[in-house]
Symmetry: C2
Subunit: 888 residues, 2 copies
């Protein structure tokens, strides 16, 4: 129910009247969003239908005429659906058929009775349809459809309406003028052409690259300048610039996408982004372009990550601290890990953990985390450039985002304003929202801490990798469940705030969802990295919570090992279960349920499928719910890749493997499982870019802390350069262990079995920097502790500022606009000036020649001309010019 809410909020004040197949909110007064910039049918073509049922050519031609009005001439540009009240079929039936979008009936006009509501809705529907007609759109109703309880309104936008809207939207359209994009013949170009030849098999078999060197000069569309544009085929002019030349029928595009994109067997190829954009619009095109670049950028990151990991494996036998731990001669007796039940233990039993820790805790990880911080900066820069390039290729330069309908006040907001409840409440509500968000964050962290603390101290004695792994898996399950809960909480909080426009609603929702899901995914990890094992006290004076639970300690190798386990399980689990299983499974399940339900209806399924119009069959597809979940998934993954990369260098590799599948999975979903979304224009990825930047910033700080506090890197360095007698690491383990006199145990806390190791223990060791029992201030924090702490903190400052500076330099060195693009934009500008100049000269020329020709009829025309000019002049410059033309 809460999930279906997601769709409710996107409805306009006309919501509850229609369900739009393409599921884009219809703003109350303007038409701009009804007029899709690509007025191809917003219905998935037959190829997408194929999955439901294979389509023979005859069937295709059968369903083809659903793409046109009854006259077979006018194309259907948009379809609205609405529930029809049938005397026999109850309301529950129709609404269940329509799934989520139908559940928003109450929103528009709350507090009305059922019957009155239906009448009222019919009235308002007509009012709305009247408005559409006033705007020049042509409508055709199809109420006697074979789908129970659903009425369809097919909409056709005539040429002149398209022109007007294109002008208002300042659409950039290709002019007749073409020019060649010259490839200069330097060494760099030769290499790049060689590279592109080598990479040829990676390109999808889509012919969009053939016309690459010829580019149409584009200019903002305007009816007065129609002569600049190639209007030979008006049916396809407003389609994308090359659609008419490459794919003559829409079906073909979809077939191509299905074969060359939404297909696991082409995972190694680039995506046909141009085609994706042509079919789904810029917004979705940008998402896939972003995902593609991210995946591509993950390749070097995972390579370096694997090398760092292998370096750890290779040097594990040269690592002096772990050698010292494992060496049987250094048989250090350690203090018990828990009260009474546990006994003394030999340090050499921690040999395995120590060796494993080295894999993730070696100098190479420091290098790797710096590398990844710069990688993130580089990725952001590359994306800016790619975006710029796409903007240029898609003729979006100059298009302003705000002009789209998302600026209109939301219906919900207007409703609240009507109720006048808004002005007073809003401020305080927003405050409450923040309080709740932060409350949830604090609650999560403290729960995490409490959960870890309460693990049974008896099993502590045999803390095994398996126990930790199980804990991590339980954690994962909790995360997955809470993820859904938090999504609902974020939505509820945003609704409380009553943002004014759809855009601000979406941004606020995304921001809140992001914060909550991020905290959810990372709070156990942050707990392990920074809080676990920090405040345990010391033998003889342990820190107790609730009087009885001793704070948790890490294994001897530091908490890094546990952090690594937790990270890998959360990341892999989230990816496998949430993303892939949920994304494939749930849509299939939903379709199955819908299918079974419709089978319970009056018709035979096969019969119906054949006779249904295309828009009727598409009605059974899942509506498009926005790109938010897709982006959210990826940004959380980006967090795993960058935030704790110092402790888990294999994260980029796992992310890469996931994403290779993810791209094709998403593609399949978009092509076959969802109703075709309205092609929305967008210049950038919006708030997601800012969130990515935020994650990259936080990553620098977190990595600095992981290296200096979670890993043993700094203590090792300090030992080597400040305390080591011979400048080597020998003696490091001994240096990190403090002494404890067992006679100082508190009463009742000493081990029950003091002779567990077979000999009497007088002094045991524990990992901390404290004074020995024989010093003047026994068990006090030692000078070494402060020295190590100071160096740790200094490292954080240096690391953070150096990496931030380097990121800024990367940001500054890589220009936001690729050089060739900026050159081409400049060239286009000059060409446009040229074109205008020539037009003008030509015009003058024609004027002169027409003057000579028209002098003959001048006297005859003068009467009507005079009338014309007096009537026309004050209103229309165009007409006055035309009169002048003849009068000259």
């Amino acid at each position: 129910m809460t999930l279906s809410c997601q769709h409710q909020k996107k409805q306009s004040k006309w919501s509850g009247l229609f369900n739009e197949i393409s599921h884009k909110p219809l703003p109350p007064p303007a038409v701009s969003c009804v007029l899709n910039p690509f007025p191809s049918p917003c219905l998935p073509p037959c190829a997408c239908f194929q999955l439901l049922k294979a389509l023979t050519p005859e069937e295709n031609s059968l369903c083809q005429h659903g793409l046109y009005f009854q006259d077979g001439q006018r194309r259907v540009d948009y379809v609205l659906t609405y529930p029809v009240k049938k005397p026999s079929a109850g309301r529950s039936n129709s609404s269940s058929l329509l799934s989520s979008p139908a559940a928003d009936v109450e929103l528009g006009c709350p507090g009305e009775t059922f019957g009155g509501q239906e009448d009222h809705k019919a009235f308002r529907r007509e009012e709305f349809e009247g408005k559409l007609r006033d705007m020049g759109l042509e409508l055709e109703k199809d109420e006697d459809t074979k789908v129970t309880g659903v009425g369809f309104v097919k909409i056709h936008a005539p040429w002149n309406v398209l022109c007007r809207e294109a002008e208002l939207m300042k659409l950039k359209m290709p002019t007749k003028k073409m020019y060649e994009v010259k490839q200069s013949s330097g060494v760099v170009e030769k290499i790049s052409s060689l590279v592109s030849k080598v990479l040829e098999p990676l390109r999808p078999h889509v012919e969009e690259h053939h016309t690459k060197n010829i580019k149409h000069l584009s200019h903002t569309f305007s009816r007065e300048k129609q002569h600049l544009f190639d209007l030979s085929d008006k049916d396809y002019f407003f389609d994308s610039k090359t659609r008419s030349s490459i794919v003559s029928v829409l079906k073909f595009t979809c077939d191509l996408l299905y074969e060359e994109w939404a297909n696991y067997s082409v995972f190694y190829k680039y995506q046909p982004i141009g085609l994706v954009r042509k079919y789904f619009g810029e917004k979705i095109g940008l998402y896939f372009a972003w995902l593609g670049l991210y995946t591509q950028m993950l390749i070097p990151a995972s390579l370096v990550g694997v090398i760092v990991f292998l370096y750890g494996c290779a040097t594990v036998d040269d690592n002096i601290p772990s050698m010292e731990i494992c060496h049987p001669k250094n048989n250090i007796t350690m203090c018990p890990l828990c009260d009474r039940v546990c006994s003394y233990w030999k340090l050499s039993t921690a040999c395995g953990t120590a060796r494993a820790s080295h894999l993730f805790d070696n100098p190479a990880t420091v290098f790797f985390s710096i590398f990844m911080a710069l990688w993130a900066a580089m990725f952001m820069e590359h994306w800016k450039r790619r975006q710029m390039r796409l903007n240029y290729e898609w003729d979006l330069t100059g298009f302003e985002d705000e002009e789209v309908s998302s600026d209109h006040p939301r219906a919900e907001y207007e409703f609240r304003v009507m109720q006048k409840s808004l002005s007073k409440d809003q401020k305080s509500k927003i405050g409450v929202t923040f309080a709740i968000v932060f409350g949830v964050i604090l609650y999560r962290i403290s729960t995490k801490a409490a959960l870890h603390m309460s693990s049974n101290p008896i099993t502590r004695n045999h803390v095994q990798l398996t126990v930790k792994t199980t804990a991590a898996i339980i954690n994962l399950v909790v995360i997955l469940i809470l993820d859904e809960v938090y999504g609902a909480v974020a939505r509820w909080l945003t609704v409380l705030e009553v943002p004014k426009t759809d855009k601000s609603f979406e941004e606020r929702l995304i921001f809140k969802t992001f914060i909550l899901k991020f905290v959810n995914a990372f709070s156990p990890i942050i707990y392990i990295a920074f809080f676990r094992g920090r405040l345990v006290g010391r033998p003889g004076s342990y820190l107790y919570v609730f009087e009885s639970y001793r704070m948790e300690e890490c294994a001897h190798g530091g908490c890094l090992m546990e952090l690594c386990i937790q990270l890998s399980i959360t990341m892999l689990g989230k990816q496998l279960i949430q993303n892939n299983l949920f994304e494939i499974g749930i849509p299939k399940l939903k379709k199955l349920i819908r299918y079974i339900r419709s089978k319970q209806g009056a018709f035979q399924e096969e019969e119906r499928q054949k006779k249904l119009q295309r828009y009727e069959t598409d009605h059974f597809l899942e509506p498009f719910a926005g790109l938010t979940p897709e982006y959210m998934e990826m940004i959380i993954q980006f967090g795993f890749v960058t935030l704790f990369v110092a402790s888990f260098p294999l994260a980029p590799l796992f992310a890469l493997l996931n994403n290779i599948i993810e791209i094709r999975l998403d593609a399949k979903k978009f092509v076959t499982e969802l109703r075709r979304p309205v092609a929305a224009r967008a210049k950038d990825i919006g708030i997601w870019y800012n969130l990515l930047r935020g994650v990259a910033k936080v990553a620098v700080i977190i990595n600095a802390f992981v290296i200096s506090f979670t890993s043993d890197f700094i203590p090792r360095m300090v030992y080597q350069y400040m305390y080591s007698p011979d400048g080597s690491m020998h003696g490091f383990v001994n240096h990190t262990l403090s002494y404890f006199n067992v006679s100082h145990f508190q009463d009742g806390k000493e081990p029950m079995d003091p002779l567990h190791l077979g000999y009497h223990v007088e002094i045991c060791r524990y990992k901390d920097y404290r004074e020995p029992p024989w010093s003047s201030t026994p068990y006090e924090i030692s000078k070494e502790f402060w020295a190590v702490l100071a160096v740790r903190l200094a490292f954080v400052i240096v690391f953070q500022n150096v990496v931030m500076l380097m990121s800024d330099i990367v940001d500054w060195l890589i220009p936001d606009i690729p050089k060739d693009i900026s050159l081409q934009i400049h060239k286009e500008k000059i060409l446009l000036v040229d074109l205008f100049m020539k037009e003008e000269q030509g015009k003058i020329h024609i004027l002169e020649s027409s003057y000579r020709l028209s002098t003959g009829c001048k006297e005859n025309c003068s009467r009507s001309d005079n009338n014309n000019s007096t009537a026309a002049h004050p209103r229309s410059g165009l007409l006055s010019v035309s009169c002048t033309t003849v009068r000259i």
Copy 2:
């Protein structure tokens, strides 16, 4: 010579041919920059001339006709000047008359002989003039001027050329449609109207506020849509939107500016920014708007700063550490401050310094530096909003900066490309540049250190405030001299790089100049804050440089006091000497020199002045050299205000006082001293915004370090919460002093006069955290040192990240576009859609009526129409429409 270089580089490939009065680079092929968007005469009007000589009405009418061509009809839109080779007057004469812009003759065509050069120049001049004529401009030469050796070319841009260029530049012009900006009548509005009434006397007496509530709807100008615009007065249409209604003559604007802006007596008033923009264009308007906002924002900052300072004054007697130092009972014997010459001294003699230090080193400064960091973030945000508001009010929304001529390749670059020297060298050169810049930085810092070290150790004994002050003044002089040197170095480095476009040239130059001047201004301050007194060693084992010089120590109160002196002297001195003295003095001096030189010429000055045309007299004004020096001055000041504000809370106050004068000074300079600059369009302040952001970022880090390392804040806190027996500050001074056994002095380093204090000294004290002589590890760094260091570093991390986070939140909470502006933009969009709709309906209406009227002459016209349509159709949609009109 190096300074005049600044103008040379701005010349195009036609450079050396003409000197432009308005000094804007003429790009080789395009016209856009010749056509000033405000084609009012680019000459300073008579009011500006007033300063040279008061102007009676008769004189005014006399010089008035210099504004028009000989026919008295066509206005002069632009004037080019060029040196005329006179047989009698030598080249040296003419070039000296023309000052800097004439010095660039060699650049265009190097290696030619003098005579050939002149001929060649005349030829190219004609070629250039031909090009101008081809573009539709009208030229009038005035070679027989009374100014020796200078020829003038007056340029007039006819209406159709203006229209074409306006269309190409996508100028937004006011349409006929006006609408009322409604003031909603909430409580907020009432308060704001009350506030604006109270602030009324602060507003300049300029009538631009009267039409505030009525706004013309603006739309991109296009000749086809001329009917949308109010073209009743074509002479003034392309002027700013309200010029025709407010100021009918340009002279009046200037008079107003002179009275209500460039006048010290109106220092308390707001600036008439709208008028400034009308007269000088957006770029200069933005500068003054920025300066105004900055000055305004300094008011709260200086208020808080003064309060913080007063808090320090008020609490100086409650400060326990300084009380302990001054108390005669605590008669601590200190170790000598230099070798042999100095002797032991009593801590109580440092009483004055300790008390003075408290003024700048108290808990309030911590609060103040956080406040200032947030203030900086707030300032940046406010500027973004103000900029947006100005963009809206000035109809710049939608205008793209890059379309201006600055994108054209620089002549110098093209010249280098011609020589083919570029491709290979450029990369390596850029590398060298960076190396040199960083070399200079390192050199400066090390020199600074060396300078301080070499101060005579004998005078050390009596280190007085006066000595420090003198040192600071010497420093200031060095800074002032090096500032000029660095300006030249930056220019030289940028020339080495050969940037491609004027814009990139300017940005690189600004960036380098900024870095060098910044380092120059702040390196002595950084040395004192962070390096001085850090590595002095300890008694018995001092650190020596060059075997003989002991590293410098700070006085007992810490280095903060000295930092404060250095800061105040550098800041005040720079402002007083460099900005005000130089800015007023040097232009006056230059004018005087030019005046004297011209007096040596053949004409009597008064005679000449009377008979000279306006453009001839304006020729004697200083050319406009760009806004870079003005911005640079302000950004260095911004550095003083933010970077070390923790140690000098009065900085904002001094900056405020300076700026109040600075605004009027700059205004006077622009109105009266400089040739009127070409009105350049700009949407933002460009690279300066990024530099400001950079300074604000660095300020956070530097303030964190100043508080934690330069001030005694952290040691005091650590003592109070970790070591103090009673939780008070009593005993702090004793705690910070270590013990030294005088028998441990190295041979030859002990004081010559050990009985200076009148008693035998066995143990002396020094400021450091070291073990006492009787410990097992004498004179080693103590645990306290590490503890204090760790807390200091932790403070830096916490401070930096908290302040950065808070800045980000400020950034995020304050929307970039003010709410009322975004509402109005939305409203305008709806109105525009409305306007178009009505136009269209009107057009159809007229078409129908004209059809009925024109049927009579249809047959007669058909012959010419057919001819027309066949000729016109393929070339011009406009004509084909016009034919259709008649044919219907």
